[in-house]
């Protein structure tokens, strides 16, 4: 089996929450920077900074259209990591939901005992 493409560069680019928002916004199709600024409600310099990071690791591509720069997702390099982070998050959310129930029991028990041993 051929060696999987390295994920080194794209790894933390994906899991910065704001960059994930940008990637999700681009999932629906290519967009100019101004659209992303509006969608995210973040100042343009910040959006541009994140786009630069994403471009450097090959997660997005850019093309010029007149004076506008249009960004699009490079899905092939993104998907494995994006999927992995989402699945990781999902497994932990399931586990934490079970932990919520344990904590609920412990809280009720403590309230029933009428003391608090913090």
């Amino acid at each position: 089996m051929p060696r999987a493409r390295t994920t080194t560069d794209a790894f933390n680019a994906v899991a910065e929450p704001r960059r994930r928002q940008i990637l999700d916004a681009l999932a629906a199709g290519e967009r100019p920077v101004n659209d992303l600024v509006l969608l995210l409600g973040v100042a343009q310099p910040h959006v541009s900074k994140h786009l630069r990071v994403l471009r450097e690791v090959g997660l997005v591509d850019v093309r010029d259209e007149g004076r506008r720069r249009i960004y699009r997702l490079n899905g092939r390099s993104l998907k494995p990591i994006h999927d992995w982070v989402k699945n990781y998050e999902r497994s932990w959310n399931e586990r934490f939901a079970a932990l919520d129930e344990v904590l609920d029991d412990l809280t009720k028990k403590e309230e029933g005992d009428g003391h608090h041993d913090a």
Binding site: M1, A4, T6, T7, T8, F11, N12, V14, A15, E16, P17, P80, I81, D83, W84, V85, N87, Y88, E89, R90, S91, W92, N93, E94, R95, F96, A97, A98, L99, D100, E101, V102, L103, D104, L106, T107, E110, H116, D117, A118
Partner: protein, 166 residues
């Protein structure tokens, strides 16, 4: 039952550096109870397997240098084992421990190190778990193993991948 439970919210996963995975999650309970649920074997058995498997063993020697070990059987009959050693123990506030996924040769040579912190505000607790992986190669291997799994066994393997990074 489930609908009556006070939920703390959703976990947020970030990757602060090339070799770190961070999870943050809020709980609707004071920190001494979160700590208790995290470190008491009978309680660990109730949540660590979530709904995907049964935790058969949860052994916790909660002191610096003390060992811990969890063994779980997934619904598909796949056995998942983890163990490690406590490096720091500050009751109700902070734990630092190594974590090794059993079944990968050499896992004990270069274990991941988990730093767990609990901070309380207004009766609610924010849990932060920061996992430091030993190298980018280990990290890539974990992601790759998740990707190569077919859809059929994806859930089991994703769980395996996930828990290997606690």
């Amino acid at each position: 039952m489930g609908t009556m439970t006070r939920s703390g919210g959703k976990a947020v996963v970030t990757l602060p550096t090339d070799t770190q995975v961070k999870i943050t999650r809020e709980f609707a309970a004071p920190k001494h109870l979160v700590y208790k649920a995290w470190t008491t074997p009978d309680l660990i058995k109730r949540w660590w397997g979530a709904k995907r498997g049964v935790v058969n063993l949860a052994a916790v020697d909660l002191r610096v240098g003390g060992k811990w070990r969890y063994l779980a059987m997934t619904d598909r009959g796949f056995v998942v084992g983890f163990h490690g050693v406590f490096q720091e123990v500050v009751a109700n506030e902070r734990l630092v421990y190594t974590e090794v996924y059993e079944g990968v040769p050499g896992g004990d040579d270069d274990p991941a190190v988990v730093t767990l912190t609990l901070t309380e505000s207004g009766g609610r607790t924010t849990l932060t778990s920061l996992t430091q992986l030993s190298s980018r190669e280990v990290r890539d291997m974990i992601i790759k193993s998740g990707m190569e799994a077919g859809m059929q066994d994806a859930m089991d393997l994703l769980e395996e991948v996930a828990v290997s990074l606690i």
